[in-house]
């Protein structure tokens, strides 16, 4: 097959002359025939031509056929050759398994990371939320009047309102607290979901004194009603915090579908709102934009509340839901794209090194008649084969990653994946991204060999004149690639360093309290059973006394909220008495605590005193954290000063409280701005939902069952929720803040490894290529040190260039990260210098190994080979 094609390529004439020759021959033969019959030569030829009748037409037809054949032929040949190239590539890889495997693996990791991160970005940012009209679903900012906006203004076709609540199911067995919501009838209509069983609410049910009906989630239907298909019309007894006077009997009227996904977790039970509530969510009318709607409702508000009333924001539910997640996802996506580029550069370097090693093979093929284009195509096919193998493997890795890392990523990002964890899968957008990543890799491979075809020629083999040095283009290209790799690695290292430093700072800070050996849980008392402060305080004391009598317990206390707890109280504006300057008002968290709180939590009182029994019934007192004291009374003595919650849009000013002590500051969360705190005794204001903190000598997790028993003995209708240890709460928050840093650190480590590997491969290859040159130098007297210096010179130049470019990139990345992530602090020159040092040292090590090997070359054997 090959031989025949070869000979035809050599012998075959252009179609036109072939046809002309053939026809001329025929005419000549025919003429000879006529001459034999006695025609004159001239007549004979004329007669022979006449037999063709329309010679031109025949000729044209032959040429057309011939040319069509050639075209078809070359197309078929191209395909055949492509298959040959592909088979040849596979044989090549089989022969160089290490090269093929490392290239595919490096690329697959790059593509896999990009695909995984893109599927995360896809599920949060690109894919519509799982509601029929997700793109028209909006949140309406506060300040919206409680009117029906549907008809007159024409901007919303449905409006939704809700009130989040906890429903404590009582009756059979232990009380169970379910997260639920009071919703208006428009809520489900706006979402556009359909019930699995029964119905949702009617507008008529949203009125004061409306019926006690409920819609339950699929999970509650399964757990509380055992999936009974005749659940409609059945009842359950529950306390709701909004109506805590007594337990109500709710009739189940509907069950939500199993795949219903709610953007807030209060979705286990729904009951109809009993009256008007501020509109929170709405479905835009088709064709109305969010900004149109905002303008209309703001206008509406200003018409009644005056022209200075604040704007009412209208914002896509999707955008708002993902707003907090977005910067992190963008940073991660950016990091993996950098990683993919590094991986590509690395694999390209390997490919180039290999192309250099195959110079002889190419020369031989050229000598045997292969065109230069054919060689280039061969290299492209090899690159594409590698890239597609890596693409397939990468997608498989991404799928695996989505399964194993998906839940972690979801937990750390702090937002449930819209549609549930199963939604993190390969859809067309992800597939497209993976394909794009693969094509990028394939193109890099396609282009690299084109640039670096080298000067492989027939002569070089025929004269067996091996060049001592190789193609400058290829050398330069390799250097550029490695330089880029070093630069990108440094950029990734810089950003990882920045985040790790911020995370480290967060993790290392003194929390201000001791989280060791503490158990914590929430209890929720019923207003009906504990209507007065006295009743509640009496229960607190009974509970704490019982808990403290347990063996191993060294302390027990109560607080409305605890640091890192499930429920947090927003900040309040506090004002100091008699202060007129700007510092007089400060934001702080008002902590309602039991008198024993500071002691049990090991929060030191640095000035004044803690709460005492004698404070009860007297003048309201408070402790402030030292940072708040510093802000409210800079340089002054806070003890004996008075402060109160300032008057706000929603509430009147609070009572004046006298400061009796200053407590050490406490970290309440790892957010960027952690507010200071004011402690108020629970003897002044009680709470129904409170956290319990128990300090024990034993394993704090073991306190749970005993605690539940004690509570149910004291009052069987009080649910115990969120039992955990302080350690676990803090650990969770730390893991969440360190998540981004940990991921980036992993990426950076991988990038560093790749860069070092690439550098090593190039230097080692150079040494291999220049064995003879090195040997000659050694013969004429070069020392080991000279050789090492010679070999490392180029590597050092590459590294320095890479580090210089990487420093610039690093500065750009740093500013980007600071702009996007509020937890990131400024970069430190020292850390940056350290990163450069690490990279430089790693690079030196990568060069040192092959340089030493070169220096140990035996000149005699090198020159003879």
């Amino acid at each position: 097959m090959r031989e025949r094609r070869l000979s035809r390529e050599v012998v075959r004439l252009p179609v036109k002359s072939e046809v002309d020759d053939e026809l001329a021959f025929h005419v000549a033969m025919r003429a000879r025939e006529f001459e034999a019959r006695g025609y004159s030569p001239h007549e004979a030829e004329a007669e022979a031509l006449r037999m063709f009748r329309e010679l031109e037409q025949v000729r044209a037809e032959c040429i057309r056929e011939g040319q069509t054949r050639e075209r078809e032929m070359s197309r078929a040949e191209y395909l055949v050759e492509l298959v040959q190239d592909f088979r040849f590539a596979l044989r090549q890889f089989a022969r160089a398994r290490g090269f093929a495997a490392s290239t595919v693996l490096i690329l697959a990791l790059g593509i896999g990371c990009v695909t995984l991160m893109f599927s995360v970005a896809n599920v949060y940012l690109l894919r519509p939320l799982p509601y029929p009209n997700a793109e028209r679903l909006v949140f309406v900012g506060s300040g919206a009047p409680t009117v029906d906006w549907r008809t007159p203004q024409n901007v919303f076709s449905e409006v939704g309102a809700w009130d989040l609540d906890a429903f404590t199911m009582v009756g059979s067995g232990e009380p169970e607290e379910l997260l639920g919501s009071w919703v208006n009838a428009g809520f489900f209509r706006a979402l556009g979901v359909k019930p699995a069983l029964g119905r949702f609410f009617t507008d008529d049910e949203n009125r004061p004194g409306g019926p006690s009906v409920a819609v339950i989630s699929h999970a509650v239907w399964q757990s509380r009603f055992a999936g009974d298909v005749k659940v409609l019309g059945k009842t359950f007894r529950a306390y709701a915090s909004d109506n805590p006077e007594e337990a109500e009997l709710y009739t189940v009227v509907g069950v939500l579908p199993q795949d219903f996904w709610s953007f807030f977790p209060f979705a286990q039970v729904f009951a109809p709102l009993r009256g008007e509530r501020t509109v929170t969510m709405a479905l835009l009318r088709p064709g109305v934009t969010a900004s149109d709607a905002s303008r209309v409702v703001t206008g509406l508000r200003r018409a009644t509340a005056g022209a200075k009333a604040a704007e009412i924001t209208v914002e896509s539910v999707q955008a708002r839901y993902a707003a907090e997640v977005k910067p992190k996802v963008v940073v991660l996506l950016g990091a993996v794209v950098l990683l993919l580029l590094i991986a590509c550069a690395n694999a390209a370097v390997l490919l180039l090194v290999r192309a250099g090693a195959r110079e002889d093979e190419f020369s031989t093929r050229i000598a045997l008649g292969a065109g230069r284009g054919r060689i280039a195509r061969q290299l492209i096919v090899e690159g594409l084969a590698l890239a597609s193998a890596a693409g397939v493997l990468g997608i498989a890795l991404a799928q695996l990653g989505a399964k194993s890392l998906g839940p972690i990523i979801e937990a750390r990002l702090g937002r449930a994946i819209p549609g549930g964890a199963a939604a993190l899968t390969l859809d067309w957008r992800v597939a497209l991204a993976a394909l794009a990543a693969t094509v990028v890799c394939g193109c890099v491979f396609g282009l690299v060999p084109l640039f670096a075809r080298g000067r492989g020629s027939a002569e070089s083999v025929l004269t067996s004149a091996r060049r001592v040095t190789e193609s400058r283009t290829r050398q330069r290209l390799r250097s550029v690639l490695i330089t880029g790799e070093v630069a990108l690695s440094l950029a990734l290292l810089t950003s990882a360093g920045l985040l790790v430093r911020s995370a480290w700072h967060l993790l290392r800070q003194d929390l201000g309290f001791s989280s060791a050996n503490t158990f914590t849980a929430y209890i929720n008392m019923r207003q009906a059973r504990y209507p007065t402060d006295e009743a509640r305080i009496a229960f607190y004391e009974r509970l704490l006394a019982r808990v403290q009598s347990e063996s191993g317990v060294t302390g027990a206390t109560l607080a409305q909220t605890i640091p890192f707890g499930e429920y947090s109280r927003g900040t309040e504006t506090l004002e100091a008495e008699g202060q007129l300057q700007a510092s007089a008002q400060q934001q702080a968290v008002l902590q309602l605590v039991h008198d024993s709180y500071l002691r049990t939590m090991n929060i030191p009182v640095v000035r004044g005193r803690g709460f005492e029994k004698s404070d009860r019934g007297g003048e309201p007192v408070a402790l402030v954290s030292s940072d708040l004291a510093q802000r409210l009374w800079p340089g002054g003595n806070p003890i004996g000063q008075r402060l109160r919650t300032a008057k706000s849009e929603y509430a009147e000013a609070g009572e004046w409280m006298r400061v009796i002590g200053v407590a050490a500051p406490v970290i309440n969360s790892l957010r960027a701005q952690d507010p200071p705190e004011v402690y108020v005794s629970m003897t002044q204001a009680t709470a129904l939902l409170t956290a319990v903190v128990v300090r024990t000598r034993a394993n704090p997790a073991d306190v749970g069952p005993a605690f539940r028993r004690i509570v149910s003995e004291l009052d069987p209708e009080i649910p115990v929720t969120n039992p955990t240890t302080m350690r676990a709460l803090v650990g969770q928050a730390q893991a969440n803040s360190a998540f981004l840093a940990a991921f980036l650190a992993g990426f950076a480590a991988f990038a560093l490894l790749l860069a070092v590997f690439g550098l090593y491969a190039v230097i080692a290859y150079n040494v291999e290529q220049e064995r003879k040159a090195i040997a000659i130098r050694m013969v004429v007297g070069a020392t080991v040190r000279d050789v090492v210096r010679l070999v490392m010179r180029r590597g050092v130049a590459i590294t320095v260039a890479g580090l210089a470019a990487g420093s610039i990139l690093g500065v750009l990345v740093t500013t980007q990260l600071q702009r996007r992530l509020d937890s990131v602090q400024g970069g430190s020159i020292a850390v940056f210098a350290l990163q450069i040092m690490v990279l430089a040292l790693a690079a030196l090590a990568a060069m040192w190994v092959p340089a030493r090997r070169a220096a140990r070359t035996d000149p005699a054997s090198a020159l003879r080979s």
């Binding site: 063709f52 037809e61 032959c62 078809e72």
Partner: protein, 115 residues
């Protein structure tokens, strides 16, 4: 009438060329001469249709060209039947056989029926 005859032949010209080549490679002129001798009494094979037919057959891969030296001492294009061509020839021969049997049966049928 003549036109109809030539159309009928046009379909079978391919088969005739393949048959000619089944005895060995020949150039276009030799094919024409061979067919002329065999078919002279029945039909005239025109040069005008022979050469396009050769190019068509070559394109289909039924015959393939090779260069040789002719009786005139000139370089001439010889055609050789390929494996595909031989298969095609067998197919067309059996098709022709069925066709001619059917046509014969129709054309001569009434006479046979009368006997």
């Amino acid at each position: 009438m003549v036109k109809q005859k030539s159309d009928l032949l046009h379909g079978t010209l391919d088969a005739l060329i393949l048959k000619t080549l089944s005895w060995g490679p020949r150039h276009g002129y030799a094919i024409a001469k061979w067919l002329e001798e065999r078919m002279a009494a029945a039909v005239k094979i025109e040069e005008g249709s022979l050469y396009p037919a050769l190019y068509r057959l070559e394109r289909r891969g039924w015959i393939e060209p090779e260069w040789g030296t002719s009786e005139l001492g000139r370089r001439a294009k010889f055609y050789r039947i390929t494996k595909h061509g031989e298969a095609e020839l067998r197919r067309e021969t059996s098709e022709w056989e069925r066709f001619s049997v059917a046509v014969t049966a129709v054309l001569l049928g009434p006479a046979e029926a009368a006997t």
